[in-house]
C-alpha cells in the first residue's frame, strides 16, 4: 500500500524545496484569518490566490493551497465558539456546544478543544490517506445515492436531538428549515415557492441565511447584555486553560477517530464535504454517548466530534481529487484548476506517475498540523479577547462584517437581504423557543436529501427491493441508523422491565399500577 521508493523521493523533494515550506506558514495563517470571518470560505480565499499559484511549482502551489484549506478548517470554529456564529456550514455543529461553553465562561477551554481536535483530525485523516489513498478513493465511489441518502438522513436526525424546551417546536423548526430548502428549482425541474422571483430560482442562499439565523438571533438576544460572558471574573484569556482544553481533547480518542474516519471517507464526495461531515460526526458521537442530553449545552465532546469531522474532510477531498480527478466541492474545484494551470490532470494516471508529489503533499500536511497548532494557539489567544469587547460595540461590527460577507457570497444585494430576512426569523424563533440550529440543519441538508431521495427512487426503478438487496453497505448503514435511533429507547424499556421479570415482582406490580 505504501510505495517506499516514492516515499523516499517525496522526502527528497521536500528536503530540496524550500519555497514549498516558505509558503506553508502564510498559507495556514491566511486560511485561519479568512475562515474566522463569517461568510469567507476557503474556496473564496483559494480563488483569490489561484492566479498567484501560476508562478509556483506544482508542489508549492498544492502545498500553499492545502495550507489555506487546513487553516480555514480551524478558523471557522473561532466565531462559532466565541459568538455562536458559524461562518460556514462546516462549523455549524461546533457552535452547538462551543457557544454554550463560552457563555459559561469556558471559552478558553472550548477553543483549546477545537484546536486540538482539528489538528488531530487533520493529521489522522492524512495518515489514513497516506496508507490507503488508492483504496479509499475507489471505495468512496461505491457510495451511491442510497448510501448518500442514509448518511444525510443520519445528519437530519440531529433535528430531533437539537431540542430546546419543547420537542414539538424543535421538530417544527427542523421542518421549516427543510421547507425553506425546497424553495427554487427542484431536482425534478419543478419551480417551487419562488413567488416568481428569479433570484429564488436556485433556492435561498444557504450561507447568508445561516449567518442571519445564527448571528442576528444571537446578537439581538445579546443586545440587553453588556458582555458575551456575564461574569467579569471569567472574562479572561488564559493560555493555561487553552492548553487544558487541548489536553482534554486527547482524552477522547474514540470521538476523534470516529470524526476523522467519517471525514476521510465521505468528505471527498461531490455534494457532501465538510458541511455534512461535521453534522454526521456530531450526531453519531451524541448518540453513542451515555448522556446525550448534555449535548447542545456545552459538552466538550460535541466540539471534538464536530471539529474532527470538519478538519478531516480536507484529506477526504484531496483523496478523490488526486486519485480520481474528481473535485468534491468548491475548494477542491479551485485546486483542480490549479492543477490544470500546471498542465496536470488529477486521476489514476497522476497518482501512478507522481506518487512522490502526492506523498510530499501528505507529508507536508503532517507538518501543517503542527504549524496549525502553534499558529492557532497564537490566533485564539488573540481572538479570545473578543469576550472583553462590550457587546454594544461587538454587535454592529459583527453585523457589518456578516453583511459584507453575505454580499461577497451572492455578488449582489440578494445576500444581505437574505441575511436580514433570516435574522428577523432567527430572532423570532429564539424568542419563542424554536430551535435555530434545528432549522439550520434542515436548511443545509434538506435539498441534498431530496436530490439523493429522487435519485434513489429513479435508480431503484421505483423502490424495487432487488436494488436494495444488492447494496450491502447501505444495508449496514440502515441497520446502524435504526440501531442508533431506537437502541436507547428499547434498552430503557428493557431495563425498566427486567426487574419485573426477576427479583422484585411485587414492586413492579405496584409501579405498573
Amino acid at each position: 500500500m505504501i510505495d517506499w521508493q516514492a516515499l523516499a523521493s517525496a522526502f527528497h523533494i521536500l528536503g530540496s524545496s524550500y519555497s514549498a515550506w516558505l509558503l506553508t506558514i502564510p498559507g495556514i495563517a491566511l486560511g485561519m484569518l479568512g475562515g474566522a470571518i463569517p461568510g469567507v470560505s476557503s474556496a473564496l480565499i483559494l480563488a483569490i490566490v489561484l492566479p498567484a499559484t501560476l508562478w509556483m511549482s506544482l508542489l508549492s502551489a498544492l502545498i500553499f493551497m492545502t495550507a489555506i484549506y487546513t487553516g480555514a478548517a480551524f478558523g471557522v470554529a473561532i466565531p462559532a465558539i466565541l459568538m455562536g456564529v458559524p461562518g460556514s456550514p462546516a462549523a455549524v455543529a461546533t457552535s452547538f456546544d462551543g457557544y454554550p461553553m463560552t457563555q459559561r465562561g469556558e471559552h478558553n477551554l472550548a477553543l483549546g478543544l477545537a484546536l486540538a481536535a482539528s489538528t488531530l483530525g487533520h493529521m489522522g485523516a492524512y495518515l489514513i490517506l497516506f496508507v490507503f489513498i488508492g483504496v479509499i478513493s475507489h471505495a468512496v465511489l461505491k457510495l451511491g445515492p442510497l448510501e448518500m441518502l442514509l448518511l444525510m438522513l443520519w445528519g437530519l436526525t440531529l433535528i430531533a436531538a437539537l431540542r430546546g424546551r419543547y420537542v414539538s417546536r424543535s421538530l417544527l423548526s427542523g421542518l421549516l428549515g427543510i421547507l425553506i430548502a425546497t424553495i427554487g428549482l427542484s431536482p425534478r425541474d419543478v419551480i417551487r415557492g419562488t413567488f416568481d422571483l428569479p433570484e429564488l430560482l436556485d433556492g435561498v442562499p444557504v450561507v447568508p441565511a445561516m449567518i442571519g439565523l445564527f448571528a442576528a438571533s444571537e446578537l439581538f438576544n445579546l443586545a440587553g447584555a453588556s458582555y458575551l460572558v456575564q461574569r467579569s471574573d471569567l472574562r479572561t484569556v488564559s493560555v493555561r486553560d487553552i492548553a487544558r482544553g487541548m489536553l482534554q481533547a486527547l482524552q477522547h480518542p474514540v470521538v476523534i477517530l470516529r470524526g476523522l474516519i467519517i471525514g476521510a471517507t465521505i468528505g471527498g464526495l461531490p455534494g457532501v464535504g465538510a458541511a455534512v461531515c461535521n453534522l454526521v460526526s456530531y450526531a453519531e458521537t451524541r448518540r453513542g454517548d451515555k448522556h446525550p442530553e448534555t449535548f447542545g449545552k456545552g459538552n466538550p465532546k460535541g466540539i471534538i466530534a464536530a471539529e474532527a469531522g470538519n478538519a478531516s474532510s480536507e484529506a477526504g477531498s484531496m483523496a478523490t481529487l488526486l486519485a480520481l480527478g474528481i473535485p468534491g466541492g468548491a475548494s477542491s474545484a479551485v485546486m483542480l484548476a490549479a492543477l490544470s494551470l500546471h498542465d496536470v490532470t488529477g486521476g489514476p494516471q497522476f497518482l501512478d506517475a507522481s506518487k512522490d508529489v502526492v506523498y510530499a503533499i501528505i507529508l507536508n500536511n503532517f507538518v501543517q498540523g503542527a504549524i496549525m497548532l502553534a499558529l492557532g494557539l497564537g490566533l485564539i489567544g488573540l481572538m479570545a479577547n473578543i469576550i472583553r469587547i462590550p457587546v454594544r460595540v461587538l454587535i454592529p461590527v459583527i453585523l457589518v462584517l456578516a453583511t459584507f460577507g453575505s454580499y461577497g457570497l451572492s455578488g449582489n444585494m440578494a445576500g444581505p437581504a437574505t441575511m436580514v430576512a433570516f435574522g428577523l426569523l432567527g430572532w423570532f424563533m429564539q424568542r419563542h423557543d424554536y430551535s435555530v440550529p434545528a432549522c439550520v440543519v434542515g436548511l443545509i441538508l434538506g435539498g441534498k436529501v431530496e436530490n439523493a431521495l429522487l435519485q434513489t427512487y429513479q435508480i431503484s426503478g421505483g423502490w424495487q427491493l432487488s436494488y436494495f438487496a444488492g447494496r450491502p453497505i447501505a444495508m449496514v448503514l440502515l441497520v446502524l441508523l435504526l440501531f442508533s435511533l431506537f437502541s436507547r429507547p428499547l434498552m430503557q424499556t428493557w431495563r425498566a422491565r427486567r426487574p419485573a421479570l426477576g427479583a422484585a415482582p411485587e414492586e413492579n406490580a405496584i409501579e405498573s399500577v
Partner: protein
C-alpha cells in the same frame, strides 16, 4: 433610503472586481484604489484596465468550467489583465445567465454557458426572461458529442448489450443523464427509435456532469449518456461503448458510432448535438463599446489560433473551434429547430 441602497449597490459593483466581493480585502481595495486612480487616468484609453470575470453557469468541475478555466490564463495574457472565473451554478443555468445580464454591460464580464440545449429549456420551460437576442455569441468553442459510457467491469460492455437488455427487460436498466442536456434529449430520442416508452429505462437525472461521471465510475449506473470529450480524462475509470457522431473519433479508435450499431438493428434516427459550450458577451456591447468588442473578439480569436494554447487544450480534452459570432448563431438556431420536434421531452 431605497435610492441610497441602490446607489450603494451600484457603487460596490463598480469597485475593481477582484476585491469587491471579498470583505477581507476591502481595506486593501481602498488602499489600492487610491494608488490605482492615477494609473487609470493614463491608461483609460486602453481597455481593459481592470480584471475581467468569466461567469460560468454551472458547478465547478464540469465541461463548461473546464473550458472557462482553460481559456482564462490565455485570455489574460492576451488582454494584459487578470481573468477570473466565477461559477454561478443553479436553476438549470438560469442563475448564472441572469447574474451575467445584471452586471454592467461594459465588456468586463463574459459568460460561458450552454446556449443549446440549456437555454432552450430555460426559455421554453422556465420562462427565464431572456432570449437569444439579448446576447452576442462570440463563439461556440466546444460542441461536444454524446458518449455512451459504462462502468469498468459493469454488466454491459457494448452498446448492443445495452439495447438488447433494455428490450429484454424493460424497466430494469438504469441510465444516467444530466437533466435538460443534449443527452437528456438523446435518451428520449433513443427510446422512441426503439419504439419503447421512456419508462423502459430507469432514467436517473443529475444536476451536472461531474457527479454523473462519478456515479458511472463507481458502477452505480448500468450506463450513462454523457458529453464525450469532457469525459475523456476519466477513461481509466469508465469505458466508452458508443459515440453519437457521424464518424468514430481518433481518441477512441475502437468505439463504434451509435448509428452503426442501431443500423444493424434496422433503426435509423437523428440525434441532437450534445452541449454547445460558448463564450458570450452582451448584445449591446457592439454598439456601446465597438472598440472593446473588437479588442475582445480579436484577442479571443487570436488565443484560439495560438499553437501553444491549442496543444494545451487538446491535452486536457477541451474543444477549440473558432466559428465566429455569425456561424455560431446559425448553428444554435439549427439545433433549436431539432429541439422543437422533441419539445414534449422537457416535461418528462
Amino acid at each position: 433610503m431605497t435610492r441610497m441602497m441602490k446607489n450603494l449597490a451600484r457603487e460596490t459593483t463598480r469597485t475593481p472586481r477582484l476585491f469587491a466581493r471579498r470583505p477581507v480585502l476591502w481595506m486593501l481595495a481602498s488602499a489600492a484604489a487610491a494608488g490605482k486612480l492615477a494609473v487609470r487616468n493614463v491608461a483609460a484609453a486602453t481597455w481593459p484596465d481592470e480584471p475581467i470575470t468569466i461567469v460560468v453557469s454551472t458547478k465547478a468541475g464540469g465541461g463548461f468550467d473546464m473550458m472557462a478555466r482553460n481559456l482564462a490564463p490565455a485570455l489574460a495574457k492576451e488582454l494584459g489583465v487578470p481573468v477570473n472565473v466565477l461559477d454561478k451554478e443553479g436553476g438549470a443555468m438560469v442563475i448564472g445567465t441572469r447574474y451575467f445580464l445584471s452586471q454592467p454591460h461594459d465588456g468586463n464580464t463574459l459568460l460561458v454557458t450552454g446556449p443549446a440545449p440549456y437555454w432552450y429549456a430555460d426559455i421554453n420551460k422556465f420562462h427565464a426572461g431572456y432570449d437569444l437576442k439579448d446576447f452576442e455569441i462570440l463563439n461556440v468553442q466546444w460542441t461536444d458529442k454524446t458518449g455512451v459510457f459504462v462502468p469498468k467491469g459493469g454488466k454491459y460492455q457494448s452498446f448492443k448489450d445495452i439495447i438488447d437488455a433494455i428490450k429484454a427487460h424493460p424497466g430494469e436498466v438504469s441510465c444516467g443523464v444530466v437533466r435538460d442536456s443534449g443527452e437528456f434529449f438523446n435518451a428520449g430520442i433513443l427510446m422512441s427509435a426503439l419504439k419503447l416508452p421512456l419508462s423502459a429505462i430507469r432514467l436517473v437525472t443529475y444536476e451536472a456532469s461531474a457527479p454523473l461521471r462519478t456515479a458511472v465510475a463507481g458502477g452505480q449506473l448500468d450506463f450513462a449518456l454523457v458529453s464525450l470529450e469532457a469525459s475523456l480524462s476519466m477513461l481509466s475509470l469508465m469505458t466508452a461503448v458508443a459515440i453519437f457522431n457521424d464518424t468514430p473519433i481518433p481518441e477512441l479508435p475502437g468505439t463504434p458510432t451509435a448509428d452503426s450499431v442501431l443500423k444493424a438493428e434496422g433503426i435509423t434516427t437523428t440525434f441532437v448535438p450534445s452541449s454547445m459550450r460558448a463564450l458570450i458577451t452582451y448584445a449591446d456591447l457592439k454598439e456601446k463599446y465597438p472598440d472593446r468588442y473588437a479588442r475582445l473578439r480579436g484577442a479571443y480569436e487570436k488565443v484560439l489560433h495560438d499553437p501553444d494554447f491549442l496543444a494545451k487544450a487538446k491535452k486536457q480534452g477541451v474543444g477549440t473551434d473558432w466559428l465566429g459570432p455569425e456561424q455560431s448563431l446559425a448553428q444554435i438556431k439549427a439545433a433549436y429547430a431539432i429541439f422543437d420536434q422533441y419539445k414534449s421531452l422537457l416535461n418528462q
